[in-house]
């Protein structure tokens, strides 16, 4: 340690700042309230973060490819409402694949607009946020959706079940994170996602079909959203039309916190999972210390800006921006 110069320590802090901050948070909260480190509490946090986390996995792909997806929140409301409605009409066995197909169709539509028509993803998904919200309200007629027989259905297994003492949402989250992590880090497709986001023109000249890659990222995002909708529906067995409202920004916050650049080309699934867990543990820690839930908004604000600031400060080698 003695051999490290100040700037090396600074560089390490900036590069791994998010992990350092995470560790400090856990230590701080544990001192404030020892229950924080209790295994039951930790499991509880991971379980309640699972829905947000599953969505963040898909958005990570979209962000790395250099685009944005602001429609995931209202798309998740759509999936939840659809699967709950179909559950009573055609039974859960058929309802789940139908809901996945409908959600993937929405994702394909967005992917088509962004990838093949090359429209700005921020505006397209902003428009789709509103349009899908309208679609959901039209579908449900504005009413809350509830499963009639809440006791007798096996549908609740996804959101409430346990396998070997670990709750199913956690298992699904971790499994999906593992699969998508391998896809992103170890397959040719994953490398193309980085290439397209890092330098789209160079990727095109290297023979990467940019539009296809971007399209697939939106399909993956839609798949994750459908999974999140399934978890949400199964956990509560009833839902409002606005269940996912505002989630798109929390998801984005988690992805950014994990160090993915909005310009594309950087970020990993592992770091996104860390980002999701940080948000979850902050909420939980603040509640355990006895603060209101909304204090987390302010803390999240400070953390997001500090995290991104340190990240780019490390890249440019200077703390303050060169803007005159």
């Amino acid at each position: 340690m003695a051999g490290l110069t100040k700037s090396q320590i600074g560089g390490f802090l900036a590069r791994q700042g998010i992990l350092v901050a995470f560790a400090l948070f856990i230590i701080g909260f544990t001192i404030a309230n020892p229950r924080f480190i209790d295994p039951d509490n930790i499991m509880g946090v991971v379980r309640s973060s699972a829905i947000l986390g599953v969505m963040a996995l898909g958005v990570t792909f979209v962000v790395i490819s250099g685009n944005l997806d602001l429609s995931v929140g209202s798309m998740m409301s759509f999936s939840t409402i659809v699967v709950l409605d179909l559950h009573d009409k055609i039974g859960p066995t058929l309802a789940i694949p139908t809901m996945f197909a409908m959600t993937l169709a929405l994702g394909a539509f967005i992917g088509f607009l962004v990838a093949f028509l090359k429209l700005n993803s921020l505006i397209v998904t902003l428009g789709m946020l509103s349009a899908i919200h309208g679609l959901t309200l039209t579908y449900s007629g504005g009413k809350n959706m509830d499963i009639a027989d809440k006791e007798g259905t096996w549908f609740s297994v996804f959101g409430q079940g346990d396998i070997a003492g670990i709750s199913v949402p956690i298992l699904i989250f971790l499994l999906l994170a593992l699969v998508l992590g391998v896809v992103l880090a170890k397959t040719p497709f994953g490398r193309k996602v980085y290439a397209v986001g890092g330098n789209g023109t160079a990727a095109t000249f290297s023979g990467v079909r940019r539009a296809r890659v971007v399209f697939m990222c939106y399909i993956i995002s839609a798949f994750c959203v459908a999974t999140a909708g399934l978890l949400q529906a199964s956990r509560s067995l009833g839902s409002q039309n606005t269940v996912g409202q505002g989630l798109e920004l929390e998801v984005l916050a988690a992805v950014i916190l994990g160090g993915a650049s909005l310009l594309g080309g950087s970020g990993t699934i592992f770091k996104t999972v860390i980002g999701v867990l940080i948000l979850g543990f902050i909420t939980n820690g603040l509640l355990l210390v006895g603060l209101q839930f909304y204090v987390q908004f302010v803390v999240t604000w400070v953390i997001i800006i500090l995290a991104v600031w340190l990240d780019i400060a490390a890249k440019r080698g200077k703390l303050w921006s060169p803007i005159a």
């Binding site: 429209l119 204090v295 604000w301 600031w309």
Partner: protein
Amino acid sequence: MQAGQLSKYLKGGAIWGFIVFELIFFSVAGEFLSVSDKAFMDADNMLLLFKQSAPIGIIAMGMTIVMINGNIDLSVGAIYAIAAIVLLDSMTWPAFEGLGDMVIPVAWALALLSGVVLGAINGLIVWKTGVDAFIVTLGAMLGYRGLVFMYNGEQPTSHLNWTLVDFAEAQFLGLHTATWFLLAVTLAIWFLMTRTVHGRNAYAIGNNREAAVNAGIRVGPHMMINFMIIGFLAALSAIVFYSESGSVNPNDGELYELWVITAVVLGGTKLTGGAGSIISTFGGVVAIQLLRKGLAHLGADTSTVNLVIGLILIAVLFLDRQLNVKGKEELKV
């Protein structure tokens, strides 16, 4: 060159063409489908339309200059809510008890000041840290909303001042107070962007930041001023709305940023910066409000409005790109 001019006029006039189309469509369709007997293009209805577009419209003027500058502000909804709380709550503070109705300008000043300060915080962070405005204001959107909740928990903040309500409901030359505010803001921001050095520099920075820096323009202060202006306008919008309603919920103003950005983009302002016009934004604001009112006139509910506005936004983006591509091809020839 001639053809390029044409496409420019086509784009500049598109929003007004769209408004005319909406007026004709809703008038004709209203004859057959409407549940009410009143005509759509009723004078009272149109006056009300301007009044109702004021809260979004006033913020949209600020968003236009921030976007011309090459930035974006997602925190306007939260600033709006904070300013509303400051406005209503400060009127009940014991310190101002003896002021009588003179408390109104004091409360207004405090609300506007809080808007400017919150905007300045955003601007300063964007300037000094170099973090993208999208991320800074996304964070602020959460953070400022947290401040709203911390101020008064989950309770609504209410205070009715009847002098203020009378002022807000007054009509001068047929137009409501809110409409006058919208028109005044539009005029002021139009003047700022087309007739002052600050406006010219803001366009230059959004268009090509490197070139602007080389030309000796100080980028940071201009960006910060624009964030302060949008904070000011978000607070002004809150003043216009809450003077009349007198009660603010901690969730008020949520999703306002989306409505505002939709209006600005409909008006033709580019997300990439450097291009955009205040007058077209005014058109975008009116077009959205017409759409909401028109669909309601036909008996459609909010779900249809959301659906249609989302799809129109995407269609506008598509058409705009087609026109741009065409313009470039014409230039080549």
